[in-house]
């Protein structure tokens, strides 16, 4: 059985491209959702402060929380992108493995 490395590499690149393309919306939607959430919370806190329903100190603590939430969101996006990279790499490896197995006649 012939083993065409150029063909196998082309298939591996195709698998990586498809996996990233199919999952990219998850990252985009996640980041947009987080941005909208921050906006809504900041509007809520400002409104509660203006109506004197919360103290200045409490208001500032909630703003400090927003920084920590942003940190968590960035780690969440890191997990999503790593999961996509993992899926793409494993899809490429699967193609390579099956090509080698086929060429070896196993």
């Amino acid at each position: 059985m012939a083993f065409d490395i150029n063909e196998v590499v082309a298939q591996m690149l195709g698998a990586i491209k498809d996996t990233v393309k199919d999952n990219w919306n998850i990252v985009k939607d996640g980041a947009n959702g987080y941005f909208q959430d921050h906006k809504s919370r900041l509007e809520l806190f400002a409104s509660l402060r203006l109506q004197k329903q919360i103290s200045q100190k409490f208001f500032e603590s909630r703003l400090a929380d927003e920084e920590k939430i942003l940190e968590s969101e960035l780690h969440s996006i890191a997990i999503i992108t790593k999961a996509i990279a993992q899926k793409a790499a494993n899809a490429a490896i699967d193609i390579f493995q099956s090509a080698v197995t086929k060429a070896l006649g196993l």
Binding site: I26, G30, G33, Y34, D37, H38, S40, R41, L44, F45, L48, Q51, Q53, I54, F58, S61, R62, D65, E66, K68, I69, E71, S72, E73, H75, S76, A78, I79, I80, K82, A83, A85, Q86, A89, N90, I93, F96, Q97, V100, T101, L104, L106
Partner: protein, 144 residues
């Protein structure tokens, strides 16, 4: 004529085949349906704590009246943290969980020290804690 393959060559060949067929990249922990459910349920309990609090007359909104529910949620967060500590490639998850745990502990302490929460404070904590839960839930779902 039969060709004899030396044992050393054969074992090297089999090792190569084994390596090629078992190689997988791992950058994130393995998905856990159990953890996804636990995160969703505890986030729901946190939300319900503040919704119920706002349904309670302000003078009855004492820390003591809600302490058991605070403790139940805290126990669940600790359990989520422990399960994540046991998973490989857990660095990002541990930061998200630590931020959530610290924020919940701060909210609990505030209620305990101030005895009663106002409507505004309860609404603000509900929104903030929901913000801490969301990245954890989305990250776990992304592992599927």
């Amino acid at each position: 004529m039969t060709r004899v393959i030396p044992v050393r060559k054969l074992s090297a060949f089999l090792s190569l085949v084994f390596m090629l067929t078992s190689c997988k990249v791992m950058l994130v922990p393995q998905y856990s349906a159990e953890l996804e459910n636990q995160i969703a349920n505890t986030a729901k309990s946190t939300d319900k704590l503040y919704i119920d609090m706002m349904d309670t007359p302000v003078n009855e909104r004492t820390y003591h009246a809600f302490s058991e529910r605070y403790n139940d949620i805290e126990v669940e967060i600790n359990s989520i943290q422990l399960k994540n500590e046991a998973r490989p490639k857990n660095g990002d998850f541990l930061v998200i969980i630590k931020n959530l745990k610290d924020a919940f502990a701060e909210a609990k302490k505030y209620h305990k020290e101030h005895k009663i929460l106002s409507d505004g404070e309860a609404i603000a904590y509900q929104a903030t804690l929901s913000g801490y839960w969301k990245p954890l839930y989305i990250a776990e779902k992304a592992l599927k």
